[in-house]
Amino acid sequence: MSRESDGDFTEYVSARLERLHRTAYFMCGDTHTADDVVQATLLSLYGRWRHARSADNLDGYVYRIMTRRFLDLKRSRWSRVFLRDTVPERPTPADDSVEHRDSLIAALQQLPKGQRAILVLRYFSDLSVESTAQALGCSTGNVKSQCSRGLATLRTIMAVPEPAAARHRGGH
């Protein structure tokens, strides 16, 4: 790759590294696995940079690579042990935002991987429903239903009251 191309790559990645890391961290639940996923994503991107840099939606393309890397993580002895034992405590309901924040990271890990990825891509990475569906290789309807189910599960895990609108809908 040319020096100019390397410069473009460096500039692009540097501007997004923190965001990519946070996305991977929310998906993986630990910083080392997140680093592995980000590293693999960026290496893959570098290998395809000549074509990727002219993509219409480069960010969406990168999140697609990352999501595949995350979903491909093998449930090896290591990850199985880790995932199993990060099952969080279920905190008592509290208005304390710090407690919510800490328990959120752990609560996310209780969701199925695909559902977790969808929630993170939609609500942290701000991908559209269509881009999220592309990243996961599923339908837009699936993305919507998984978002709804995922948020409902998180509410239960974190013992957060259901929004009034949802309660109202559920009553009919």
């Binding site: 790759m1 390397d6 790559f9 460096t10 990645v13 540097s14 590294l17 890391h21 946070r22 961290y25 929310f26 630990d30 910083t31 080392h32 997140a34 680093d35 980000v38 590293q39 693999a40 960026l42 290496l43 570098y46 290998g47 491909d72 093998k74 449930r75 090896s76 002895r77 290591w78 199985r80 042990v81 880790f82 995932l83 199993r84 034992d85 990060t86 099952v87 969080p88 405590e89 279920r90 905190p91 935002s97 924040r101 800490d102 328990s103 959120l104 990271i105 752990a106 209780q110 199925p112 929630l119 993170v120 609500y123 942290f124 948020l151 509410r155 957060v160 009251p161 259901e162 929004p163």
Partner: protein, 395 residues
């Protein structure tokens, strides 16, 4: 309230540890990989950095990426007779790669070779090559690697005993297997509990234990039983334990290592004998615990506190009853001297609460410990941002 916008806000506000990814290293690794593929593409014989046969000894000091520090989160709980401690220098040696390694490197989906486990003597080491979504199991015997013919699709090596018996999970719908010097045996589930999880555990005698449940799905553990295959058998016995008991390991005395769980996760760490009689491993006040491994007079696992993210490493002395919290993380392996292998937040080894200084093969790389033998030899991976090299450390 917990609607979409609040969820967004929580994610944006969440405390996330800093990344260890360095763009410069990514660039370097990317260039190296591109060069490598370019050479391979024109049919050149690439001289792989690691010899296909024999080991590459690299003696590095502790500054090559290792760390030696006392974890500030260690509680310093009363310790009367801890395992031996003191400053140690470890040297790293890359393990030999199997003959297939060169061909794997030319496959687009090849990612890396990793260590996963080792037997207590260190004679046998288990690992795998990651190719796409599949694992190719590798067994090192006296340093000589061999690809095991377990399954054409995928197979992990999860445990090995000192007699070279291997257990793991194989095939796309993973099922446990035993590999005993060339003979592969699929381990059967008990009636109506067809889903065996999360992995088989093995002791020196060859006894194996796992959990079994009636439904698939990572989140649904309802109806779980603990099962036990006597050495050499393929039909398990269901142990008379409560439904909330979970096996996480098996000791050489036949006792199941694990704990009870509730809706919110771990409750109490236990050791159970095959008759179902249990010994609860007490944890510090206000904690919930789980045990993951036992060896000799030691057991390790984790302790969880309300409001605290992630566990702390527990080390129990089974002879004296002493329970110590060592550091943030989870103990997943222990040797006969009480050296603990931890997973999260870092895969390392604690000796009396102090992290071993494990150097990486490449300066600035990351050392990841996976197993520790009774003589203090540590096995794991040296990750340099591109390649993960299987290694052993002598400390």
């Amino acid at each position: 309230m917990f609607e979409e916008n609040e969820f967004r806000a929580l994610l944006n506000d969440a405390d996330v540890p800093p990344t260890g990814v360095d763009v410069g290293r990514v660039l370097h690794a990317g260039r190296r990989r591109a060069r490598h593929r370019s050479l391979a593409g024109v049919g050149g014989t690439l001289a792989v950095m690691l010899a296909v046969a024999g080991v590459v000894p690299l003696t590095l000091g502790p500054t090559g990426g290792g760390q030696s520090e006392t974890d500030p989160t260690a509680s310093g709980a009363a310790a009367t007779a801890g395992p031996s401690a003191g400053p140690r220098t470890c040297t790293v040696t890359a393990l030999a790669m199997p003959a297939e390694y060169q061909a794997w490197q030319n496959q687009p989906k090849f990612q890396r070779v990793e260590v996963n486990t080792a037997d207590p003597t260190g004679r046998y080491i288990g690992g795998h090559a990651v190719i796409g979504q599949n694992l190719i199991p590798i067994l090192w015997t006296d340093g000589v690697p061999q690809v095991l013919p377990i399954d054409p699709t995928t197979a992990s090596i999860d445990a090995i005993n000192e007699h070279g018996v291997v257990v793991g999970m194989a095939s796309a719908a993973p099922r446990p297997y035993r590999y005993d010097h060339g003979t592969v045996t699929k381990l059967l589930p008990p009636p109506h509990k067809l889903f065996l999880y999360p992995q088989p555990y093995l002791n020196a005698a060859g006894d194996i234990t796992m959990n079994a449940k009636p439904k698939a799905g990572y989140d649904d553990e309802a109806g779980t039983v603990v099962v036990w295959w006597r050495a050499g058998t393929r039909v398990p016995v269901v142990l008379p334990l409560s439904e909330n008991a979970r096996a996480q390991g098996i000791g050489d005395d036949g006792r199941i290592v694990g704990g009870t769980v509730g809706d919110a996760g771990a409750l109490d760490a236990y050791l159970w004998d095959p008759r179902g009689d249990g010994r609860k491993l007490a944890g510090p006040a206000g904690t919930r615990t789980n045990a993951h491994a036992a060896r000799g007079e030691w057991a390790t696992g984790g302790a969880w506190r309300s409001g605290q993210q992630g566990p702390t490493v527990m080390l129990w002395n089974l002879r004296t009853g002493e329970a110590r919290e060592l550091a943030a993380g989870l103990g997943v392996g222990v040797n006969s001297s009480g050296w603990v292998v931890t997973s999260a937040p870092t895969a390392t080894v604690l000796v009396d609460g102090v992290k071993l200084a494990l150097p990486a093969v490449v300066a600035g790389g990351v050392a990841k410990a996976k197993a520790v033998a009774d003589d203090g030899t540590v096995f794991g991976d040296s990750y340099d941002g591109d390649d993960s090299v299987p290694v052993r450390w002598r400390c």
